[in-house]
């Protein structure tokens, strides 16, 4: 039942990324998903079976750099965060190679350059475990099903008036205006912006507006088209609803 699952399938315990070197000449890679440089680092430390409080920094740094080179070779974009960690590792490694300052008072606590990194790793690992816990919770939750949504006025109000209802109203008005349409060309057309402003102002005043009567105020086909687009626009952009109480009834614009 587990084969061929969706894109994100991983088992925290066994399927952390694996770099598998196969025999023969070719290098076979199973690149898992590392959530970040700390994740990769933890993986390498575990693979080396190293003590997290005493990280063999030279070995781990080499392994880490090897992995990053591999990513580059495979043309996987190496995130900047991975490179930052590489620089940090190299810095710690070089600090550890330096002889201690002889002037330092004996017996005084010497800061381990690895200390900060260890703290971060331990802190990170807690959240990694928490992520695992969340993942397990989702798998449990996925075994539980509840019913789908039930239709109610609340979740369905906007759909009451469809685009086709709007078009029907529009056509009705066009038909009514057919005889009145004059053949003069108006230069000073109403712009969509003006129409929107007017519509907004009127909605602000009365909270609701009958779309039919709004369309009826228009004199030219052009104005009608602009008004129609303005209604669509205000529904899309502002929190305005189109409602229709019964089929083929009047459509009302209402402030949400």
């Amino acid at each position: 039942m587990d084969q061929e699952q969706e894109q994100f399938t991983f088992d925290f315990k066994t399927e952390t990324a694996q770099i598998v070197a196969e025999s023969r000449d070719e290098l076979k890679l199973t690149l898992g998903e590392f959530a970040g440089p700390l994740d990769l680092l933890l993986y390498l430390i575990r693979r080396e079976q190293a003590n997290i409080f005493d990280i063999p920094i030279a070995t781990i740094t080499d392994e880490y750099l090897k992995y990053i080179r591999l990513m580059k070779k495979l043309d996987i974009a190496v995130a900047a965060d991975f490179l930052v960690m590489a620089a940090t590792l190299i810095e710690i490694k070089s600090k550890m190679l330096l002889p201690r300052d002889p002037a330092e008072v004996e017996g005084e606590e010497i800061d381990d350059p690895r200390r900060e990194l260890v703290d971060r790793l331990l802190e990170y690992e807690k959240y990694k475990s928490a992520a695992q816990m969340l993942y397990e919770r989702t798998t449990v939750e996925q075994a539980i099903f509840s019913r789908g949504p039930i239709d109610s006025d609340d979740n369905n109000a906007e759909i009451n008036a469809s685009v086709f209802d709007l078009l029907t109203v529009f056509q009705k008005i066009v038909a009514r205006h057919k005889d009145e349409i004059q053949m003069e060309i108006h230069r000073e057309e109403v712009t969509l912006a003006d129409m929107l402003k007017d519509l907004k102002r009127r909605l602000g005043l009365s909270k609701e507006l009958n779309v039919l009567s709004f369309f009826e105020e228009m004199h030219t086909r052009r104005e009608l088209v602009t008004a129609f687009v303005a209604v669509l626009e205000i529904v899309r952009v502002e929190g305005v609803r189109l409602t229709q109480s019964k089929t083929f009834g009047d459509i009302i614009l209402r402030m949400a």
């Binding site: 039942m1 699952q5 969706e6 994100f8 399938t9 991983f10 998903e33 959530a35 970040g36 440089p37 700390l38 003590n51 997290i52 409080f53 995130a79 900047a80 965060d81 991975f82 960690m85 971060r120 331990l122 802190e123 990170y124 690992e125 807690k126 959240y127 990694k128 475990s129 928490a130 992520a131 816990m133 969340l134 993942y135 919770r137 989702t138 798998t139 449990v140 939750e141 996925q142 075994a143 539980i144 099903f145 509840s146 019913r147 949504p149 039930i150 979740n155």
Partner: protein, 184 residues
């Protein structure tokens, strides 16, 4: 006076039935407070009706269960029946979140309200796309700006987070310190 109280309240059996019906039709977990308001009953009676409903489901080993989630009650199928339910629905279990998103969500759940730089500090990696995904899935919400340099946005988990992860409230999450024992 006692009679008046009797009049206002439904018979206990009737109350259990109507509570069951409302829990069933509610889209989200429904609270005792809301149930009491809608039914015009006091909260204690509603609470005991919910409890007896739960017991009843348990007692007869129903295929459904009453779950306590996000501070409310919710009706759902029993976990053990998932194979047959899945067979019927033709769905397969699948992880809905990437590893990076889950980690980011874990940090937000435990550290909320938390800013992007604070998440970066813990995870050691940029989490911008994970945060975008979590916002889109409504698992997290913005919690205002932090009054510090740059006034970064703070994030916290949402009610949907509780619902999707089957939690009654955030205190049901195991303490982050409990994970320390698993480390090393």
């Amino acid at each position: 006076m006692e009679e008046q109280v009797q009049k206002a309240a439904r018979a206990p059996g009737k109350l259990v039935a109507v509570v069951e019906a409302l829990i069933f039709v509610a889209d989200e977990p429904i609270t005792v407070k809301l149930l009491a308001e809608v039914l015009d009953e006091d909260r204690e009676s509603v609470q005991s009706a919910v409890e007896s409903l739960k017991d009843e489901y348990e007692a007869r080993e129903s295929g459904l269960q009453i779950r306590e989630i996000a501070g409310g009650y919710h009706i759902a199928t029993r976990t053990e029946l998932h194979e047959d339910v899945r067979k019927f629905l033709k769905t397969r279990p699948s992880a809905k979140l990437s590893l990076a998103s889950l980690e980011t969500l874990a940090v937000i759940a435990y550290k909320q309200p938390v800013t992007v730089p604070e998440i970066l500090e813990i995870r050691g990696v940029q989490s911008a796309s994970a945060i975008k995904t979590l916002l889109e899935k409504r698992l997290i919400v913005t919690k205002g700006h932090k009054e510090t340099v740059g006034r970064p946005m703070q994030y916290g988990t949402s009610k949907d987070f509780l619902i999707q992860f089957g939690l009654n409230d955030l205190s049901e999450l195991p303490s982050i310190e409990d994970f320390e024992d698993l480390v090393t």
